[in-house]
């Protein structure tokens, strides 16, 4: 049931307060209401003095740059390890194809290409296992540049120069359907023309293009008007991986006990609605997995002052 609820939130529903909580959760919540509660003001002061931790971010950036470099070098040095770009490629000869892009191509062409099916199944298994939207934060080159744009946006917002304008998250589902419909009706996959991931990935492999201006325009929009707009509200590739990762074993796990509910995690999160369970009185169990829209970027793990958010592989604790 919680899976259905989490998918609903991913598709655009607002997270709700739980109707029922586990006994353990009730006890933990009650304890915080009393004198044993954490002094948040002091905690934030401590945080300001502590050195900021970027363990997961640095690991993630290393992987992201590494994968994209492998694409570039495979062509540039002709080492042929990872050929193609992020829409479709071959890893040591095995087909890999982005699921949503493949779907669009098949809808536009009205033909099922065997190699694409092989490629999507490979990607399906790979990211189903690793954790869906982990693709976004650990591989997608647009994610990286959008992170820099986000830093700029946050800095400008603190100075009161810009303001974040939230958009209804349900629009991502609309785009998912709309791009598919357009491909089917017009025979052109418009999404593949405007997709900044494809533009960046191709630019990294085949050299810079005019199309980078379009990516720049998107980034400017994100800086001055709406924080992380493409990733949050538009990208159907992200949504596809989100659905794919709904039951994926790699998760961010939330531990209610030590949480101070000060909300630092939600400030750094790309998809803060998945962390609504960290709001006071929200968690309905002592340990909870963060919803499927989570990109497993680990920013919350890095920033959490009470170590209440951790990387977790489902079932691994039972095996070990």
């Amino acid at each position: 049931m919680s899976l259905l609820r989490d998918v609903g939130v991913m598709l655009g529903r607002a997270p709700e307060k739980p109707k029922q909580k586990s006994d353990m959760a009730e006890i933990l919540h009650a304890r915080k209401r009393g004198k044993g509660g954490v002094n948040i003001a002091r905690l934030i002061e401590e945080m300001a003095q502590a050195k900021s931790v970027h363990t997961w971010r640095n690991r993630r950036w290393a992987v992201l740059i590494g994968v994209n470099l492998l694409f570039t070098l495979s062509f540039f040095l002709d080492i042929q390890i990872l050929e193609g770009s992020l829409t479709a490629s071959r890893f040591l000869g095995f087909h890999m194809a982005d699921i949503y892009s493949s779907l669009l191509v098949m809808l536009a062409e009205k033909h099922v290409a065997v190699n694409l099916v092989i490629g999507t199944v490979t990607v399906f298994l790979l990211w189903g296992l690793i954790g869906g939207r982990a693709f976004c934060s650990w591989v997608c080159p647009y994610h990286l540049v959008a992170e820099f744009a986000e830093m700029l946006h946050v800095w400008l917002a603190e100075k009161g120069i810009v303001q974040d304008h939230a958009i209804h998250r349900g629009v991502r589902v609309v785009f998912f359907v709309l791009f598919a419909l357009l491909a089917f009706v017009t025979g052109h996959a418009l999404f593949l023309t405007v997709n900044p991931i494809g533009v960046l990935s191709r630019a990294l492999v085949y050299g810079p293009s005019l199309a980078l201006l379009w990516v720049l325009l998107l980034l400017v929009f994100e800086v001055v008007y709406s924080r992380r707009a493409w990733c949050r509200y538009v990208c159907p590739i992200g949504l596809t991986y989100g659905v794919l990762g709904a039951a994926a074993p790699v998760r961010i796990r939330y531990h209610l006990e030590a949480c101070a509910h000060e909300g630092e995690c939600r400030k750094v999160c790309e998809v803060p609605h998945v962390l609504d369970l960290t709001i006071k009185n929200r968690a309905d169990a002592a340990h909870m997995d963060v919803g499927p829209d989570c990109t497993r970027c680990g920013m919350c793990v890095d920033i959490c002052p009470t170590h209440s958010l951790t990387f977790n592989v489902k079932g691994l604790d039972r095996i070990l």
Binding site: D98, G160, I167, T186, L190, T193, V194, A211, V234
Partner: protein, 259 residues
């Protein structure tokens, strides 16, 4: 004109933002969602206008599905065809091609598809079948068709020979010269020609005389290149023509079908 302390406080702050009620905020979110959707959907007509205005009818790699829309729709824009081409004849179109952005094309004057790979590597590399896997041999390709667009400038027609490097010493294109190396395409700038009657286009045609042959002109003196039915539009003739600009060009299949 003395300000009360409250007024002072107000004037220091630029303009306090009115806190929106949940309902208002939600309405705005919906509105923004609608605007963003409209803006992105409007890009479909915008891009088709860009293709018509700035784009050109491109020569596509071997095996490209017939019909520009069908080919573009089937192409996933990954560029694997670009990577396998031994002579680097294939490029990806930029944003000025509108909906053709990211799709592969060939510019034969700079580098023609000379079938150095024999097995049509680009077709084998294509994951979607936009370059049709049903094609098995170079003779079945139809990129376009050669046309003598500047007959008056043609050396053969004027009865002239050719001596030297076909495209000068700076030219970066490659061609398979079988007598030098069967497998490694050679730089054209290193190959010197010396012919009494210029027949470079006919001589280098990878298909042979069924595609392009020289026929003596009735008035004597010169000969003219004649394009045969077997022409696949590979563009080697366009690339090798020593005249500047070229006398023989490849017309895209789509265009020749319309004409």
């Amino acid at each position: 004109m003395s300000d009360t302390p409250e007024q002072k406080k107000k004037s220091r702050k630029p303009r306090p933002r009115r806190r929106l009620s949940r309902q208002e905020e939600n309405r705005r979110r919906f509105l923004r969602a609608g605007i963003v959707t409209g803006a992105i959907v409007a890009m479909q007509p915008l891009f088709s206008w860009v293709s018509r205005r700035f784009g050109q009818l491109r020569l596509r790699p071997p095996g490209a599905l017939a019909g520009e829309t069908i080919f573009l729709g089937a192409c996933i824009k990954c560029g694997q065809c670009v990577q396998v081409c031994p002579v680097e004849a294939i490029h990806l179109a930029d944003l000025n091609d509108g909906l053709g952005h990211g799709a592969p094309y060939i510019e034969p004057r700079d580098q023609a598809c000379d079938f150095s790979c024999d097995a049509l590597s680009c077709i084998l590399a294509c994951p979607t079948g936009a370059l049709s896997h049903e094609l098995g041999a170079k003779e079945e390709v139809s990129i376009g068709i050669a046309k003598l667009t500047r007959p008056d400038a043609c050396r053969a027609r004027r009865g002239e020979g050719f001596r030297g490097f076909a495209r000068g010493e700076q030219f970066r294109g490659h061609l398979r010269y079988k007598e030098i190396d069967r497998w490694v395409p050679q730089p054209i700038r290193e190959y010197e020609y010396d012919v009494e009657l210029c027949d470079l286009c006919v001589r280098e045609c990878p298909i042979g005389t069924t595609a392009l042959r020289l026929e003596p002109l009735p008035d004597g003196g010169g000969s003219t290149p004649v394009v045969g039915d077997a022409c696949v539009g590979c563009g080697v003739c366009e690339m090798i023509c020593p005249e500047e600009p070229t006398c023989i060009e490849i017309i895209p299949s789509a265009e020749s079908a319309q004409a």
